[in-house]
Amino acid sequence: MTDEELLNCVRAGDREAFCRLVDKYAKPLTMMILRMVKDREDARDISQHVFLRAYERLPHLLNPSSFKTWLYKMAVNAVRDHLRKPRRTFVPDVLDGLADPSDSAACLLEKEHDKRRIRAAIQDLPLKQRMTLQLRVFEGLDYEQIAQILGGRANGAKGNFFHAVKSLKQKLDTKK
């Protein structure tokens, strides 16, 4: 069933149809949030909050074919709100668990060092560039969808993406 058909079922009172939408989008949406907030518990809370709001606000969704963009837009706004709050405690980085057990110790150290540099460089980007980069590289969204989610136009999203990639390269080149 398409999103549109499932949404019609939800509007007719079918909760199971909403659960199917959750099954479809929960993982990619939560992973996107996780990449941005870097904490599993926070990512889970934000993601669930987004689905609850979506459930409550579905009657106001005028164009059911844009459900995915609508959902991501709510998620990005929730992440922005979350990131504006001051950090309460130290948050361990989720990227810390990426080590491949087959690698040698030196190789692991080098990889870990590279990852830290990349994470730091991404973290230094302006929020909009960082979100554009993540939506394009990790979520595979096109510039039109990114513009709908973050606001602005497709060309602006493309510009943000290019700036982000070039800034990253520049930062990583200078830090070597």
Binding site: R15, D23, A26, T30, Q48, L58, D114, K115, V137, F162
Partner: protein, 189 residues
């Protein structure tokens, strides 16, 4: 054949990594890279960066996380449903469309079926003799009458409109109804 400057080439390198370069542009870029050492180095740097970005994805939290996610979300959805079941169904109702359609239907019903659009205030002629008498009286009061407008226009206080049909005979018009508008307390009949 198109020449490519190094600034443009670096944009195209990023577009190419993003799979957004068409075949012709890709060939142009490849030709430029074959002759430009600096851009070739930049391409390698971008490729490494791209691979690092792709590799920097956080690992999947695991099945236990997702099971817990579903259970706790279902619980929250249950709470949300039980908290406002009526509100949900009310909100699902298409109020905007209803606000437009219902008044339009009511207005249509009033005009078509109850005839409140003006016809009901018009006085029907019940017989031809009565009609003739009316016209005579109106002529005596207001002067000669035209075919359609009895000359209320000549008087400030009254306007009389008469509608005709050809039902009576093929050649002669028969008034069907008339309406008279006047200022209050101005007797005209």
């Amino acid at each position: 054949m198109r020449n490519l400057d190094c600034g443009k080439a670096q944009d195209w390198i990023v577009s190419n990594l993003d799979n957004r370069l068409d075949c012709d542009d890709r060939r142009t870029l490849e030709r430029h890279l074959a002759t430009c050492r600096a851009c070739r180095d930049a391409e390698i740097a971008y490729q490494n960066l791209w691979a690092s970005l792709k590799g920097a994805m956080p690992e999947d939290p695991g099945e236990a996380f997702w099971n817990d996610y579903r259970v706790s979300l279902n619980k929250k959805l249950d709470e949300a449903s039980s908290r406002r079941p009526v509100a949900w169904s009310l909100r699902a109702f298409p109020w905007k469309a209803t606000a437009v359609v219902v008044p339009a239907m009511v207005a249509l019903f009033l005009v078509v079926f109850l005839g409140l659009g003006g016809e009901a205030t018009r006085q029907p002629f019940v017989d031809h003799a009565g009609c003739q008498k009316l016209f005579q009286e109106l002529s005596e009061i207001y002067g000669p009458t035209s075919e359609e407008i009895i000359p209320g226009a000549y008087f400030d206080f009254v306007t009389t409109t008469v509608a005709y049909s050809r039902r009576a005979t093929a050649t002669r018009l028969l008034p069907r109804w008339f309406e008279v508008e006047d200022e209050p307390n101005q007797p005209y009949l």
